[in-house]
């Protein structure tokens, strides 16, 4: 029964892309969650939406850019948005969480206006919002592979700096870690992760894949490394389980993946309570 999945090229693409984002979303997510920045993923995914909308608009109205992949524009917006968040956090030193709703609403407002100008409320947009396995073509897959690898390698290389900064920023500064530089790189990594994940789970659901597996892992783990590994396991289970289920039941893939990770979280919480 399972081999049916592999017969379709779109399912191969989706599964491969899913496996990659199943690693990087929770790996980045662990650092976001322990730094109490879980909502950052939401803010950046909404600004990615305006990027996608801008991409669709350019595609339609600028003949030269007809071939442009809206995902790239989304990525650019996401990176720009992440830098704006940093600036806003500086401007509101005592209300740092304010940066997130500001960016979030600006992103969605701009997105909706751009979409309406582009006359783009259609199926294509729907797939960006909620994810779609059919939407992942070979070009998307290659982008996901390349960007995913960059994010993964950068995270591994910066592991100890990110860990130290997450645990205790002041101490990390004193021990000579270049805080600004590492934080800056990390924000870009978050932006890239969101931009490439939205093809599978959709803009509105990306943050679930970044935070839910980590939430489940936090219940069970003692050490930081264990938290990362468990989060990745939970995310992979959700992605593969969700995609398979969505395929056979003809459900929306993004939603199924997210429901799968909610289910895992609930199971973990129940098991933890019993023990």
């Amino acid at each position: 029964m399972l081999e049916l999945i592999f017969r379709y090229e779109f399912m191969q693409n989706a599964l491969l892309a899913g496996i990659i984002i199943g690693v990087i979303c929770p790996a980045i997510g662990v650092f976001l969650v322990v730094r109490r920045l879980s909502l950052m993923a939401d803010a950046l995914s909404h600004i990615t939406l305006s990027g996608i909308a801008a991409g669709l608009l350019l595609q339609k109205n600028v003949p030269l850019l007809q071939g442009i992949n809206p995902m790239y524009v989304g990525m650019i917006f996401s990176v720009a948005g992440s830098l704006l968040v940093e600036q806003l956090r500086k401007a509101y030193r005592f209300y740092q969480e304010l940066a997130i709703p500001i960016i979030l609403s600006a992103g969605i407002g701009l997105g909706v206006v751009l979409i309406s100008i582009a006359n783009g409320f259609n199926v294509d947009l729907f797939s960006y919002l909620f994810g779609s396995v059919i939407a992942v073509n070979r070009t998307d897959l290659w982008t996901i592979i390349v960007v995913g690898m960059i994010v993964l390698i950068a995270t591994i290389l910066l592991y100890k700096e990110l860990f130290a900064l997450s645990f205790d920023e002041e101490y990390a500064r004193i021990s000579g870690i270049k805080r600004k530089w590492v934080n800056f790189t990390f924000t870009i990594l978050v932006a890239l992760t969101i931009a490439i994940s939205m093809r599978i789970v959709g803009i509105l659901l990306v943050s679930a894949l970044i935070t839910l597996p980590v939430a489940a892992a936090l219940q069970l783990s003692n050490s930081f490394k264990q938290t990362i590994w468990l989060s990745i396991c939970f995310a992979e289970l959700s992605v593969l389980g969700g995609l398979t289920l969505a395929f056979y039941l003809n459900w929306a893939s993004g939603g199924t993946i997210v429901l799968f990770s909610v289910l895992l979280l609930v199971i973990v919480l129940i098991v933890k309570k019993r023990v």
């Binding site: 100890k160 700096e161 645990f167 002041e170 101490y171 990390a172 930081f224």
Partner: protein, 267 residues
């Protein structure tokens, strides 16, 4: 005093004598019109064990921040190991233990081993990873503070005293020459405080560590340190504990105001 000469044999006027580990020169610092530190001249020499005391709001924490390069003075200069702080790069020579209470989120998923390893990160530099000998060094430091049985435990689940010892292990794992502690005994139970002072004494005597500790606990501290500095916007006293005890009432009246009574407590 050792005079520092360069290779050519000329006396360098800018160079600091090698035995001063920390040297603050004419430090002034304020938040807006509020003057916090006024013309501070403060030296910690190699082998010193300095207790820095002062009332709340006396600028102790600010002075530490300036020494650690976390804040910039409005005027004046700081030299660390003889180098101006702006060009000082050997941060691994300095171990730092902050106030336990506000230093970390106790739900953080990290083991004692992982936290102590952090102490080596500055020395390692970007992109490099812990080697086998580094890992052994981490276990050694954990053993030194008596936490071997808790190496792989989650740090959030330890007692306040144990957490503080884990942070000491993190501060000494890179084998620093100077250890700076900011009110390390706040929120730690009395019995652990006693053990804590013993540990510091060992580090000072056996491992020749220079120590600078900010503390509220004047009574306890005078029995352990080699020098006391009393700060309230300016340095009111800096000398050995014996001298401090002789002039105690005057110094404290000057620094804390006249209604300060010292409660001596022995544990």
């Amino acid at each position: 005093m050792i005079i520092f000469y360069d290779k050519g044999g000329n006396h360098q006027p800018g160079a600091k004598p090698m035995n001063s580990i920390i040297e603050c020169k004419h430090i002034n610092f304020g938040y807006g019109s509020n003057e916090v530190l006024k013309d501070i001249d403060f030296v910690v020499e190699q082998g010193d064990y300095v207790g820095l005391v002062g009332p709340n709001g006396s600028g102790k924490s600010t002075l530490l921040k300036i020494i650690l390069g976390l804040a910039k003075p409005d005027q004046g200069e700081v030299f660390l190991f003889g180098k101006p702080i702006s060009s000082f790069k050997d941060w691994h020579k300095i171990g730092y233990v902050s106030q336990k209470a506000n230093s970390f989120n106790s739900g953080f998923p990290a083991t004692v081993e992982e936290v102590v390893s952090m102490g080596l990160y500055g020395k390692l530099g970007l992109f490099s990873r812990l080697s086998k000998s580094h890992k052994e060094r981490v276990l050694q430091a954990i053993d030194q503070v008596g936490l071997s049985d808790f190496t792989y435990r989650n740090i959030g689940k330890l007692s306040g005293g144990q957490q503080q010892r884990a942070f000491i292990a993190r501060a000494i794992v890179a084998q620093p020459s100077l250890l700076i502690l900011d009110e390390p005994t706040v929120g730690v139970d009395t019995e652990s405080v006693e053990r804590f002072y013993q540990l510091l004494a060992t580090l000072h005597n056996k491992h020749q560590l220079t120590l600078l500790m900010v503390t509220h606990d004047i009574g306890m501290m005078t029995h352990h340190v080699t020098k006391i500095a009393c700060l309230n916007k300016k340095i009111h006293f800096h000398g050995p504990p014996s001298e401090f005890q002789q002039k105690q009432s005057e110094i404290l009246a000057e620094a804390y105001g006249s209604h300060m009574n010292l409660v001596e407590h022995h544990h």
